[in-house]
Symmetry: C2
Subunit: 233 residues, 2 copies
DNA sequence: GGGGGTCATGTGGTCGGACCACAGCATAGC
DNA sequence: GCTATGCTGTGGTCCGACCACATGACCCCC
């Protein structure tokens, strides 16, 4: 067993046993090193891994915000894993798109089925209004688009699926932007996407699960076909 | 920008550009440190993160297997992220179960729909035969069970979904085992699970997607209800 | 007594150097 | 020709030091 794994196991056990809770601080690196009988560099390697896993956030200085604070941020590590494995070309873009369709159509169906109240839909509406601005760059448009889709996924009330969706969108953001030139007509594309978004929200509000799921599926599939993103980048 | 992030960006860029391929070796830590003008500890922190992300595998010694070799192992990092966030209690077990049902029923539907050839089903059959052994411990049984479910998910041909499924199973393995005492009758449970497994494979082989998906959904939901695992641990 | 500036303190961030264990390979010796 | 030994390069670990930063206590001046 490598020394830095001692720290990982210790922290995981402390979390599982409730000895460490979100918002609390990890012991200082020097203290942790002495407690476990290992060196500070070994502790640091473990803290780095925990940081990459979205379990701690480190900051310098003093005060309650400094040090290694326990957080629960699952999106960034999932994003990192996906991005890196997309980069190795051993994760076909087509599989990512297929997963998006599966998760998002499910979320839309769930949201429509459980009759979300209009307060939850307000964020989505606001985002759609922002996307109506006439002079958005592709980058700005897609950031709002991603936020909208993530918000929709959140309506289903499943933390894990929402996190995976958010990380999927973040991971492929660069690839999507790079594919914009493949579109024959950017303006026409945005008009279509905008009206499809409105239709999806309308279906969820109306409480018609099958319609909502179908609209989402067609929406995603249509864009990736237009952008020719269904093959490995 | 922290120094170890220099290494991460450098490696990700090299992967994306094809300058680093799977099976190749990362430059030595000392070399990397000098190339980027940073210290070896900083490089080591980055390598640790890459290792945790399933992108490199490190080993001591010399020869082609030693050093930091580029690999593509998405399951272990996903497992680690899920396990850690389950430990923080900010990821409800119910959401994980719901995700399992969604992914696995989809995979079963896909597999049944595309008429997998019997060679691909042989692994699943073999695992089911092994699970018929009369004196399996709960631990052994669930390991085989997990392997069976992961194999099924693989039949759909989506690398990402198969990886997520495998990591879900690994992450909850401990929780499942801990819940075995909740079952009123372990023997009767295994008999039921075994026959359900056979029925699922039969439906896939018969090419009846709706049946396959429905059987998988009932199978998973039934077990978690019996084991009372639908609430946070 | 109050207010503002200054320094002590503790945090992570970084560095250089050193030594160890390990695996493979070149080479010397038989 | 074969074996055994040492050389080489790899990651693994440690030590000690210094830096940048944010805070809070302290002190001086008004």
């Amino acid at each position: 067993m490598k020394n830095y794994e001692l720290v990982l196991h210790r922290v995981e056990a402390d979390l599982a046993a409730g000895r460490l809770r979100i918002g609390e601080r990890l012991p200082g690196e020097r203290v942790l090193a002495e407690q476990l009988g290992i060196s500070r560099p070994s502790v640091r390697e473990a803290v780095r891994v925990l940081e990459a896993m979205g379990v701690v956030r480190t900051a310098t200085g003093s005060g309650p915000e400094a040090g290694a604070v326990i957080v629960a941020e699952p999106v960034s590590p999932l994003t990192a894993v996906l991005r890196l494995h997309l980069a190795t070309n051993h994760l076909p873009m087509n599989d990512v798109v297929q997963t998006r369709i599966l998760l998002e159509s499910w979320a839309a169906r769930e949201a429509a089925g459980r009759q979300v109240d209009s307060g939850e839909l307000k964020l989505a509406d606001d985002l759609l209004d922002q996307m109506d601005a006439p002079d958005l760059s592709p980058e700005e448009f897609h950031l709002l688009d991603a936020e909208f889709h993530v918000a929709l996924s959140g309506l289903a009330g499943n933390v894990l699926i929402a996190a995976v969706m958010a990380s999927l969108r973040s991971a492929i953001h660069g690839y999507v932007l790079a594919a914009v030139p493949n579109l024959t007509d950017w303006e026409a594309t945005t008009v279509g996407l905008r009206s499809e978004h409105r239709a999806i929200v309308k279906a969820i509000r109306a409480g018609t699960p099958d319609d909502a799921a179908e609209l989402v599926t067609a929406h995603i599939r249509g864009f990736y076909q237009a952008a020719r993103l269904n093959t490995a980048p």
